[in-house]
């Protein structure tokens, strides 16, 4: 499945729908589906809220696929360079209120997914998230 969305948080409802359609077709379990939906929201909300320095409309491309027991999500955007793998892990020993708020979503994505890959290609961020489908069998 491949689709694009605009840099507007209102588009996220449609993303959830697409993830659910994809999950039903691929017979993915509810917990896996929840995790994919959540990881994708965190990444997209981050791009939409922090990725752009202008107020213009931008397009973000999302691709969902399954290869040999692994779900793969590719996200491509033309925002500022941002590598989620470089984001420092939050200090979870500290009470939540004392931590900087920004890192929470990325931390969640890292915990939910089995693999993250990032590369910058020209003026685009290419992020790949992977999660095995085996765990729920």
């Amino acid at each position: 499945v491949e689709f694009t969305l605009k840099n507007d948080l209102a588009e996220l409802d449609r993303v959830t729908q697409r993830v659910n359609e994809f999950g039903t077709r691929q017979r993915l379990g509810p917990q896996l589906l929840h995790d994919l939906d959540l990881a994708l929201e965190e990444i997209l909300a981050n791009i939409i809220s922090h990725g752009y320095t202008d107020i213009c409309e931008h397009e973000i491309r999302v691709r969902l696929s399954v290869h040999s027991g692994e779900v793969r999500i590719d996200v491509e955007d033309d925002g500022q360079p941002f590598n989620p793998l470089d984001a420092p892990a939050p200090d979870t020993a500290k009470p939540l209120a004392e931590r900087p708020v920004g890192g929470l979503g990325i931390h969640l994505v890292r915990q939910l997914m089995d693999g993250l890959e990032y590369k910058r290609q020209g003026d685009r961020n290419l992020l790949t998230m992977k999660k095995t489908t085996m765990r729920e069998l």
Binding site: H34, D37, A45, A93, L108
Partner: protein
């Protein structure tokens, strides 16, 4: 989708905040705005998440923000009926040490009673 918010007074400064739906990047600002009004007169909040099947970091941030505001004046925030997906997210983010999460209704009732007792007369 979306989020339904129902606020009920408990005692003088306590507010029971019943939520239903998705607490995500889109609906969190709506809750945030509602809480800004509620926080003007409240000292303690109890979020009932029985009807919430999805929460993202945006939703957690709103609850943590409310907690910060209330603790500054001696109040607090608690969570009841967190469903498994919500509970997992709270666990991953280690939100547990900073917010009371009730295991059962008895704990919740005790908290509500405390909220009512603390209300100044």
């Amino acid at each position: 989708m979306g989020l339904e918010i129902e606020v009920t007074e408990v005692g003088r400064g306590g507010r029971f905040v019943g939520l239903r739906g998705r607490l995500d990047a889109q609906t969190a600002p709506i809750l945030d705005q509602r809480l800004d009004e509620v926080l003007e007169s409240a000292t303690a909040l109890l979020f009932d998440l029985a009807g919430v099947e999805y929460i993202s970091s945006a939703g957690i941030r709103v609850m943590v923000k409310a907690r910060k505001a209330l603790e500054a004046r001696g109040g607090g925030v608690a969570i009841a009926h967190a469903q498994p997906p919500v509970r997992r997210v709270l666990d991953i983010l280690k939100a547990l040490p900073s917010i009371d999460i009730f295991a059962d209704d008895a704990e919740m009732d005790a908290y509500i009673e405390r909220m009512q007792r603390q209300a100044p007369s």
